[in-house]
């Protein structure tokens, strides 16, 4: 067993689960979506991205690309949240919340792609 592989898999999976945890719930209900969960998802996603740096295989390149997409979507969601609360003073309306969650939902798809690729690679090596 390789510790590096464990850490790598751990962060990629954690990024997916945290992301899912945030998105789960009614899309426009602020009570169903915790801000700290979004924060945790962003941090773990960034860590996962950095772990994929420097992989020069084809699958490594797509993994990195998927991760960058997830980062982009999550950070966009966080910025939207911050602007809505403190920037415009409009507060978390149902409309804003729905936008935030759908952005995070997009990131979820990217994370699913990441995990799928990881599984494909693992299966291929074991064969």
């Amino acid at each position: 067993m390789n510790l590096e592989k464990v850490v790598f898999g751990f962060f990629i999976l954690l990024a997916l689960t945290l992301n899912f945890g945030f998105v789960y719930g009614e899309i426009d209900n602020p009570a169903h979506h915790a801000s700290w969960e979004l924060f945790a998802a962003i941090v773990v996603n960034l860590v996962a991205t950095v772990l994929k740096f420097g992989e020069r295989t084809q699958i490594g390149a797509i993994l990195l690309a998927a991760s960058l997409v997830a980062d982009l979507q999550l950070i966009a969601a966080a910025i939207l949240w911050g602007v809505a609360l403190y920037g415009t003073g409009a507060g978390l309306t149902e409309m804003t919340m729905a936008s935030i969650v759908s952005l995070a939902g997009g990131a979820l798809v990217a994370n699913i792609v990441s995990v799928t690729l990881l599984i494909i690679e693992t299966v291929r090596i074991h064969r």
């Binding site: 801000s35 420097g54 911050g82």
Partner: protein, 565 residues
């Protein structure tokens, strides 16, 4: 891959990035966790935006005060925990990137990437020059002046740095790398569609051989011209189809023999293989008689072998006759002292050739010899280009400059592939013929070494001629060589050779009509060359020269002209 440097940065920065993300995440958590009080006693906590903002301005150690409200002691104690890790993380990241930039492996990767990019951008036909010593730099300069591009490989970093400081007409990418390795040759553009060939002119025979083999195996269509100083290497190179092997010593020996046996031909040879646009000089004729050869190394041996063939007597002076297996009757010594030269019979000699591999010795030999007999014919081998002014000042009858010899020879092979053929054929003719050629060249050259070039009759190089031919108009050689501005005048150019599948004609008759597929070897002034090019591409100029008829041009006028007939 050429963005290898970028991947290297990413891989190296993985650690610092992780530490940065971790320290920021930790900081944000700490900042948000500890509650503070307003002056009116109400508790408050930072939100995400506050925390990130606070960290952003404190972590790179700018810091401007407590935000958004004054902190209490619990917050201050806790926040120290949040501030230090990002500062250290930033420091770590900066140290890593600075270390990476100074890393020689990384710098080499960056240089390689840059070189490959520059080579890929070459858009004109170019030559790969392996070895940037005296020969290489002469070649690169002359190639760029003739509109070829070049890429340079050399193992010596200083020489490559020197390349970037020269004011060449075109930008020439250079890289400090070993030409022995195929991947370096590839980086220099071996697979580039515009690559015309490879010039292997390093001072190491084995490297040149390796380059020749690699190129001929990977791209047999590319031309390879090699320098070889050993006979065995030269034979080896020829054995697998190297296009041309240039041996500076053998080619000098050849010229010396030519100068002795056929002085007129030697003059033509010197002019045609000289560096264009340098003054046309008259090589003095070597006298008949005994030669003193100082130094029996590769050079001395090549010369003696050649002199044996034409039955010219010589005496060898060599410091270590046993080791070099010098012929019988060799005088022991360096040749730099009058005693040795006298012993070798300088009083009855016709010429002295100083051929050791030490420039100081060679100069000393010729000076001593001149001291004894001022009327001697002197030749000396010049090993380093840097010594050129000294050899110039010595005013030798026949200087031997191996790097110059190689460069001019390679250059004429590149620009005029038919020249060796012409020189070979010309040797078979008699003296008066040689003198006639020499006179013709002097007439058209205007006192400087003429340019030599090749023309192939066909759609690519002479479309005007092909069009007129299809109209049934025969074009003779003399039509091409007439000045369009003044019909009485001839261009300053002469056709040396006409090559056809069924015949090879030196100095062809000007009245002979040209056919598709004919190849011509011309020599003349640069102006004549560009005028000839113009004529070959412009139908009306050529028609005027051939028939004296001036016709309107352009599609409409052509149509009108047809209608009026």
């Amino acid at each position: 891959m050429d963005n290898a440097a970028f991947y290297m940065v990413l891989r190296r920065m993985r650690g610092p990035f992780l530490v940065l993300i971790g320290s920021y995440a930790l900081g944000i958590c700490v900042l948000m966790a500890i509650p503070g009080e307003h002056p009116d006693g109400e508790t408050w906590r930072m939100n995400f935006v506050d925390a990130l903002y606070f960290l952003t301005y404190t972590a790179p150690t700018i810091g401007f005060g407590e935000y958004p409200y004054e902190f209490n002691y619990a917050q201050r104690l806790g926040y120290m925990l949040a501030i230090y890790p990002p500062v250290i993380a930033w420091f770590y990241a900066i140290v890593t990137i600075v270390g990476l930039i100074q890393d020689p492996v990384f710098r080499r990767t960056v240089e390689a990437g840059r070189f490959k990019r520059q080579v890929r951008r070459l858009s004109e036909p170019f030559w790969i020059v392996c070895g940037y010593g005296d020969t290489g730099s002469l070649l690169v300069r002359s190639l760029t002046e003739r509109g070829w591009e070049a890429s340079v490989l050399d193992v010596d970093e200083q020489r490559i740095n020197h390349l970037s400081t020269r004011d060449l007409r075109l930008f020439v990418p250079g890289w400090c790398a070993d030409a022995n390795r195929t991947e370096n040759l590839r980086a220099a553009g071996l697979d580039h569609p515009r690559c015309a060939g490879v010039l292997a002119v390093t001072n190491d025979d084995h490297t040149n051989l390796q380059v020749a083999i690699s190129v001929k195996l990977l791209h047999p269509r590319l031309r390879v011209i090699c320098r070889a100083e050993n006979r065995a290497t030269a034979d080896n190179m020829n054995s697998f189809g190297t296009d041309h092997v240039v041996d500076p010593f053998a080619s000098f020996a050849d010229r010396l023999a030519l100068a002795i046996t056929k002085p007129e031909m030697h003059r033509v040879y010197e002019w045609l293989s000289g560096m264009p646009n340098t003054p046309l000089f008259e090589p003095p004729r070597p006298p008949d008689g005994r030669w003193l050869i100082c130094g029996y190394g590769r050079f001395g041996k090549a010369v003696c072998r050649r002199l044996d063939k034409i039955d010219v007597p010589y005496t060898v002076i060599e410091r270590t006759p046993e080791r070099t297996s010098a012929p019988e009757g060799t005088i022991h010594g360096k040749g730099t002292e009058a005693v040795t030269l006298r012993e070798a019979g300088i009083q009855n000699a016709a010429g002295v050739l100083a051929g050791t591999d030490d420039d100081a010795d060679n100069l000393s030999i010729v000076m001593t010899a001149r001291d004894i007999r001022p009327d001697l014919y002197l030749a000396a081998r010049e090993n380093q280009m840097a010594q050129r002014p000294l050899f110039k000042a010595a005013e030798l009858q026949m200087p031997v400059e191996p790097s110059y010899l190689i460069a001019t020879r390679m250059l004429s092979l590149i620009t005029a592939p038919l020249l060796p053929e012409f020189l070979r054929i010309a040797r078979g003719y008699d003296r008066s013929w040689h003198a006639a050629v020499a006179r013709r060249i002097r007439e058209v050259s205007g006192g400087v070494v003429p340019e030599i070039w090749t023309i192939t009759v066909g759609d690519d190089e002479s479309p005007a001629l092909m069009e007129l031919r299809s109209e049934g108009q025969d074009i003779a050689l003399q039509d091409l060589l007439t000045d369009p501005q003044d019909e009485e005048k001839r261009l300053n150019a002469v056709t040396l050779l006409l090559v056809r599948p069924e015949a090879v004609v030196p100095l062809p008759d000007p009245k002979v009509p040209l056919e598709p597929g004919d190849r011509l070897l011309c020599c003349g002034t640069p102006e004549a060359r560009s005028q000839l090019r113009w004529t070959l591409f412009h139908r009306n100029t050529l028609r005027y020269l051939a028939t004296g008829e001036q016709r309107p041009d352009g599609s409409i006028f052509r149509w009108l002209a047809r209608g009026s007939k």
